[in-house]
């Protein structure tokens, strides 16, 4: 399973290195979203810095949708899906590999977006441990949930429109938890940020576990 995960994840990252879709398309899109938030809130710095964590995670959520769409668009092209099935790869390995590749791309996007909110919204970072840990947990959760639903929708004619409807309500707790944790980490609230981390970790754990268990069912169903 781990070997297969490395093979699949490595392939996805190699594709990204050649095509540079995330770096040349999704990252600029993410920055654009932040800019548009700035317009929407009429460049009010007080509101923007207060809302920065929420806007940050909203932008990450939108980007994760694109990353997942891209990840499965690869497999949809020219029978690649059949190739993947025919190779006899362990479905759990496919899941872990694809989710890891998406997660890694999200991490890069988060760094870009983090710089973005620091520059555009004037955010200052206080509690780096909580910040990084909650971001890591949220990223794993988003990537694994996205990969699971990406596979559910893969091969359906309506996947582009169906995918957001499936993913967005489900990842709502991630948005909530990550935003609250970051509010605490940025010193915007006095509430305890760490308990939100437990929530994010349990979300990620549920999706990773369930993805590993159920992916064989999904891969087989063309």
């Amino acid at each position: 399973m781990w070997r297969d995960a490395v093979v699949v994840g490595g392939k996805d990252l190699r594709v990204e290195m050649h095509s540079r879709v995330t770096t040349t398309q999704v990252a600029p899109y993410a920055i654009l979203v932040l800019l548009l938030f700035g317009f929407a809130f009429d460049q009010n710095h007080a509101i923007l810095s207060q809302a920065a964590p929420g806007l940050f995670w909203m932008a990450v959520l939108l980007c994760s949708m694109l990353a997942v769409q891209r990840s499965f668009a690869l497999e949809a092209a020219d029978g690649a899906r059949d190739g993947l099935r025919l190779s006899g790869l362990d479905p759990a390995g496919i899941f872990l590999g694809k989710a890891a590749a998406v997660a890694l791309q999200l991490v890069i996007l988060e760094v870009v977006l983090g710089l973005g909110i620091a520059v555009l919204f004037g955010t200052t970072f206080h509690n780096p441990a909580l910040l990084v840990l909650s971001a890591a947990a949220a990223t794993v959760g988003l990537a694994s949930a996205g990969t699971l639903y990406g596979m559910v929708a893969a091969g359906l004619r309506v996947r582009e429109t169906l995918l957001p409807l499936l993913i967005l309500p489900v990842v709502a707790p991630v948005l909530l938890g990550a935003t609250q944790a970051w509010m605490a980490a940025l010193g915007l609230t006095t509430a305890d940020g760490w308990r939100w981390l437990t929530l994010l970790v349990s979300f990620a754990a549920i999706y990773v576990t369930f993805g590993v268990l159920s992916f064989s069912v999904l891969v087989e169903e063309a």
Binding site: S202, S214, E221
Partner: protein, 271 residues
């Protein structure tokens, strides 16, 4: 099986049992309405508004039962030993009814909230959770409508339903930590705030919704059965037509697709 046979005789989803069930439901609805609107007195604090208590909590319960049933049936479908198309039909039927009751819950809650809290909507934990669940299950229903092979659709949907159910505790914690404003359970409190007719009416409303739920579920389930039947009945014809394309009249016995497709694919699906 007896049920299916009887159903096919009638060419519909009703039979004697559902008619009796429907009649009982109708009577119970009338009784609840009479008790709720005429017999039970207005509340000291909430006035006439209290009458929503005969609609709203029971609808919310029915909604949660529907979603719970859907998750349970989906799990039973995914479990190789219990895999059967019946569970898939049950999941489809209960999710749809759950969504109906969920919308009813949100609408009645909103109507109640406006005079009680002064707003149509508030970001209270339970409200938010219910709205989230509605969104999740609307996604589930959208997924159900995607075509393709019924067995692969069943598996896809079952995976989604189970993972949705796993998320309920997470969603619950998240929304609770986030905000809490809703009034707590009214009956289960050690010192109930409602008495006499109100309590009785409310309990009857739960029974009424229970019957309504069961009646809807039976019919909705049978619609799924009919749809499967409709498609399975075409199987023999489709095989014959497909063979005729090649100018072949018969080659050996027609391959048997035992009872319905679900049985044979059960074996195939165990991978």
């Amino acid at each position: 099986m007896v049920m299916v046979r009887r159903m096919l005789e009638y060419r519909g989803t009703g039979d004697r049992v559902t008619r009796i069930l429907g009649l009982v439901t109708l009577v119970l609805v009338a009784v609840t309405a009479w008790l709720g609107l005429v017999v039970s007195p207005p509340d000291k604090v909430q006035g006439q508004l209290v009458r929503l208590i005969y609609v709203h909590p029971a609808a919310a319960t029915a909604c949660y039962v529907g979603f719970g049933l859907c998750a349970f049936a989906s799990l039973a479908y995914l479990w190789p030993r219990t895999r059967s198309r019946r569970w898939d039909r049950l999941a489809a039927a209960s999710a749809e009814i759950g969504v109906v009751f969920c919308i009813l819950t949100l609408v009645t809650g909103s109507i109640w909230g406006r005079p009680a809290w002064g707003v149509w909507w508030t970001w209270d934990a339970r409200l938010t959770l219910t709205a989230l669940l509605l969104a999740v299950f609307l996604g589930y229903l959208a997924l159900r409508r995607t075509g393709g092979d019924p067995d692969s659709r069943a598996k896809r949907c079952a995976v989604v339903a189970v993972v949705c159910a796993l998320l309920v505790p997470v969603d619950h914690e998240a929304t609770t930590w986030w905000q809490t404003l809703h009034q707590g359970n009214t009956i289960l409190r050690p010192n109930p705030l409602i008495h006499g007719w109100q309590l009785l009416t409310m309990l009857i409303s739960f029974v009424t919704y229970g019957f309504l739920f069961a009646w809807l579920l039976v019919h909705r389930y049978r619609v799924e059965v009919l749809e499967d039947r409709f498609e399975d009945e075409g199987y023999e014809v489709a095989i014959a037509e497909r063979r005729a394309e090649g100018g072949v009249v018969t080659i050996g016995p027609s391959p048997v697709l035992s009872e319905s497709l679900s049985v044979s694919t059960q074996k195939a699906g165990q991978s």
